[in-house]
Structures are given as structure tokens and as C-alpha cells.
Symmetry: C3
Subunit: 253 residues, 3 copies
């Protein structure tokens, strides 16, 4: 840090298993990736190329290379997995992961409907090739699961081989664990945490109020995802109690 | 594209007459223009320097040059045209277009009130010098036209010499063809489309929900405008059914 | 300017005492700072590294150097001052200002509660070392002061040695002089202006509607703050009556 302040909460060092931040890149240029890394590489644990943006992004290999040189793993968003599945192109999907040298992949069912057993089978199979992150929760604002269901799905996916489960929120932060308004479904989160260890969950939390809420609930080293590149420095100050929103929280501890 | 996916809707190739995307640059630096072009040149058909930002933007000639080298035409926002007109400086406006070597210009009346005959006269005169894009709809949330009026205005402007007509929405997407809330005035759009060919209209659609709505109504190759540079890759995935919002839409076709 | 338009309101030239714009940098990379300066240096009077972002921003000295070379003073956000004060590290704070060669500092009490006499003492002491900007208004949406209180606080702080007083709004523009919705507390602003000279106040106004409101009330050369780097060109057009929102305002003068 640039100067000494007493009583700053301690952050986990890399490689992190808790205190992780997953960043969403939805189309940065190579130079923008470099700029992002200059400022935020230290705070970034993994980068997601949002949904199927990797299909249309130019210079994809060069981009993957930049992240690799910075020691930051990259995976392609779950919607891309679903786009291959719905087209019966699962084998093409696996080959594509190989072609780009990816070591992480996301399995999700936010836009398609599949039997949960089948989803777990994909997790199990894919986890032999790469590290699997799986996502729970629909992108459809109408599809709301009860807490016991979230727990059941998360447990089964972790058992099937997921390294982490992601709690869905989209880029906008208004579905899954959030209400339409972006407000957290608090009871849901509390109940999930009685059964699933916090460090195995990445909470998608694109909005500042959502990040604040999770930091207050779980602490400095909560795993957060879908963070916009430009929000990384602001998020780091929230985690350290150095922004108004969390300023009081850590002083009282 | 970076890998093969079956049954992806077909995009029109450049030079496009439908499937066009008009991007709004409201003050990018030269390097930011280069970054934008690296990622989105292929998907960008025309760039608007928003309203009168060209008046205060440094390095204007260098910027125009960057776009020119990329083969992407540029025009200055309609509010600039209106700023010249309201000051009785129409001749200065024409000279200014010449000085900067512009080959496109926008004629609008979003902030001023002029007789429609006079507006059409400007379109007619200007179309001898440059390719004219004209805009229908006020920037004033209070001024709401009936559908028959929109149709009448659009027809007259196309007859006067406009290459395309733009349906007003502002950078914020809350006037013209949208309600205050950003919601599309659906009946209005449907009625316009009974009389005006879709490929002659550029729909300003700065918000994702608006882009989604038009893609579902008109298809992959709808003309959309006022797209922010950073939203170009996301928009392209929407057009291809590769983001949750349009994922189902193209599968059922 | 890039071409001649008649009857454009006159902007104050640098160094400005009114017509100032304070920009908020919340984590730009070095190249992003260069890009910002290319476009907006001429319009930027002072830069704030938002709240305590300077604690976690890499390349801080290089960044300060870039702004220095452009002749633009930089200060660290008031929340950082408060973070030092609440930890009884005032002396460390002064040393830190020295280490980074800062010539401006902000004194605020947006996140902590201190006696106003003590706040004024800090202003008085610090103003012997640097130019002090002090901020009035809480970051807590619950804490609302009556107008006479705002006036009393501002007067006392200016007398204690503040160069300018800042009217609080946060990055989001929804506290202090604004309602929760972002709407200006008009009566409050009017009453403040009966007692405090406009040129000694910097109004935080991150939203376009807020900038517009103050430009219409106080004029082209109102002092505005918490402007996002990418909003500088748009703001300059608002100040000159070259965007729809203020287009009419200056024509009628």
C-alpha cells in the first residue's frame, strides 16, 4: 500500500481461495486489458469473458496471452457453454477449450432448461479436462427458486466436481440472488450460508450496494464476481473499510 | 468468428444498408478511438460525434483521420446543425462541413422549432453537398407526436433527400420513440413500420432492453444507433442470439 | 474552438476561480490519465483521487507526476483524511501529504462525527501546510441539515482558512444537496447563495441533470465537482449551451 494506516482489515494473498474477485471483460481491447492489469492485476483472481463475447471479440488469442502473462486465469461465460449444448455441439465445445488452451470453464443453465442430473454429468465430465465453475440461478426474472432448492443444487454441483459455485446475478445485478430492484434476497443468502461454505461460493455483485452488503455480511474476504474492470479499485477500498459505505463497519470490530 | 457454432443468424456484410450500427463518440481520445476500432471496426457502419461535442474536442482533425483510415464515415450530431441554424449561420455550417471534409451531415429539429417545409428544404439543399441523415422526434419529453405524424414527417424527409431517417431517443434513451422510463412506444413503432421500410430507419437504442426489443421485432439486421463504443461487442452478441436476452429468439426460427 | 459559432457564452480562462471543474479519478491507469489529459486538460482545474483510492492505486507517484506535468493540482478525497483522523494518525496524514508533494488537501466529516470547532481547527492548521478544500454535508442519507446550518458551517470553514467549500453529493449524487432521487434541494441551494459567494463553493454534481440545473441557476462559469473523466466534454458543451439541455437557456440572454 502507498502509506501506512492502522487497523486495516487483512486481505488474503494470491493465490486466493477466499477473498477472490472475478472480473467481467465484455470486450476490452488489448491496450485496455493492459491498462486494467496495470491497475488491478494484484486484486484480480480470475477473469470471465462475459457470456459469448469471445465469439465476436477480435484478437482473442492475443488477449488470452496478456492475461496469461499476468498469471490470471480466464474462462468463457456460461452462456457460451449453453449455446454449444443447445446446438448439440458439446464435443466442439471441448475442442474449442483445448484450441484456446483454457484451463477453466463454466457450466450453467441460465438460458436453457436441462435436467439437473445432466448438468451435473457435464460438470463431472468437464472437470476431468478443466477446472469447472458452475452457476446456479436463472437469468429469467420469473424463475425464482426456494432457498432449499438453491442449497440442493449447489451441493450436488460441488459434489459433481465444481471448484466453485457462482450465484447468478447477470451483468446488471437484478436476477437470481437479487430482486428485480437489485436488492439482495437476504433470507435466501442467509439460508444458503447455513449449508454451503462461503469460500466455495462466488457471489455475482455488479452493483456497489450489493458488494457492500456482502462485505458486511461475510467480511473483507468474501468472493465476489461480475465486477466491472473500472470498479476494481473502488471495490478494493470497500473491502478495506476505506469508502464511506463500509467505513464504520470495520472500525467497530 | 473465433470458433464454429451452428445456426447463427446471418449478418449483412459491409457496406451495410440494413444491419447497420451507428456509434456515438462523445469525446474519445485518439488512443481510445484506436482501441474502439481494434475491437469494433468490423461491426461499426457510421460514427456520430454526439451533438456539438466536435466544437470542444481537441485533435478533431486527427480523430476524423483515424476513422477515415478505418473506412468508417463520421458525422456531427444534429444539435450542431441546429446551433448553426438558430444563429443564422447556415452558410458557415456548410463551409465547416467542407473544412473538415465531412461527407455526411445530420439535419434535425430536436432542440429548435422550425417549419417542416423549411427543414425539408435544408435536407434537400444539403443533400447536394453531402449524404443527409435526418432525425425525427423532439428531445423534449413533453413533445409527443402521434404515429401518423411520425410517418408523415419521415416520408417527407426521405422524399426531400434524406438517406436514412433517425428515430430520436437521445443518449439516455428516454424521449421520442421511448417513454420517460425508457420503455418502447410499441404501437408507435409498429405503425411506423406499416408505412416506412425498416432499412431506411435507424432506431436510436442506447439501452440493452431497447436493442433487444428491436432485434426481436425486426431481426438480427435491424439498424440501431446511439450505441456507446463499449456496448458494441455486447450488441453484436445480442444480434446473434448469443446473449441471454435474445438466446431463445433465434433458436425458435 | 474548432469552428466559429456566434453568441457562445464566455468561459473563464485558467487559472480559474469561478467556472472551475473538479474531476474525480477513481483509479485510472497511467495511459488512461494521458488520454484524459489529451481531451480535457484545458477544461480541468483540479483532480480528486476519490475517497481513499490513493491507498490501493498502483503507480501513484507516476500518476501524480502526469497531472503535475499538465499543470493540474491533485488532492486526495476527504474520506482519506477521515480515515487518518479516526485512527488518531493526524501527524501521519501531514507527513503523507509531504511525501507525495501534495499542495492541496480536503478536510471533511462525511463519514465521521467530529465537533465543528475541531474540524475548523484542522482546516486552520492544515491551511498552513497546503491549500485546504473543505466539504460540508454528510454521506449519510439520513443526516439532513437545515439551510441555516449549511450556511453557518460554510462560513466558519471559510473563515478558518478553506480556499473553497464543497457541497457534498458523493460519486452517485444522492445525498447532501440532493434528495435520495438525485433531485436538487432547490430551496437549500437558493438560501446558501444569499449568504455565501458562489465562487467559493464547488457543487458536486455527478449527474447531467444536476450539472444542467446549476448551469441554469448560476451560469456558464459555475464551479462543479465530482465530474467523471468521460463526462468532461459533455459538461463543456452544457456550459456553452451546445447540448439540448441548456440550448435554449443561453439564447434567451
Amino acid at each position: 500500500m502507498n502509506y501506512a494506516l492502522n487497523n486495516i482489515p487483512e486481505r488474503t494473498p494470491k493465490p486466493r481461495s477466499s477473498g477472490m474477485t472475478m472480473v467481467m471483460d465484455k470486450g476490452l481491447s488489448l491496450r485496455q486489458v493492459e491498462d486494467f492489469l496495470e491497475v488491478s492485476a494484484e486484486y484480480t483472481d480470475i477473469v470471465k469473458l462475459g457470456w459469448a463475447t469471445s465469439y465476436v471479440t477480435p484478437n482473442l488469442k492475443e488477449k488470452l496471452n496478456l492475461y496469461k502473462q499476468a498469471g490470471i486465469p480466464v474462462y468463457f461465460g456460461g452462456t457460451l457453454f449453453e449455446a454449444f449444448i443447445i446446438r448439440n455441439q458439446y464435443d466442439d465445445y471441448c475442442r474449442m477449450l483445448d484450441t484456446f488452451g483454457l484451463q477453466y470453464a463454466e457450466v450453467s443453465d441460465g438460458s436453457i432448461t436441462i435436467e439437473h442430473d445432466l448438468k451435473c454429468e457435464y460438470i463431472s465430465k468437464l472437470s476431468k479436462q478443466v477446472t469447472v465453475i458452475s452457476e446456479v440461478g436463472s437469468k429469467d426474472v420469473q424463475k425464482i427458486f426456494a432457498p432449499y432448492k438453491w442449497i440442493q443444487l449447489m451441493k450436488a454441483e460441488l459434489e459433481a466436481g465444481s471448484w466453485k459455485v457462482i450465484a447468478e446475478a447477470r451483468e446488471s445485478g437484478n436476477v437470481g440472488i437479487y430482486r428485480d430492484s437489485g436488492e439482495v434476497r437476504q433470507g435466501l443468502v442467509d439460508e444458503i450460508l447455513t449449508q454451503i461454505p462461503a469460500e466455495t461460493i462466488i457471489w455475482e455483485a455488479p452493483q456497489k450496494a450489493q458488494q457492500t452488503w456482502f462485505i458486511k455480511l461475510i467480511g473483507t474476504n468474501v468472493n465476489l464476481g461480475n465486477i466491472a474492470p473500472a470498479d476494481m479499485i473502488p471495490l478494493e477500498t470497500l473491502r478495506l473499510g476505506l469508502r464511506s459505505d463500509t467505513f464504520d463497519h470495520f472500525l467497530n470490530q
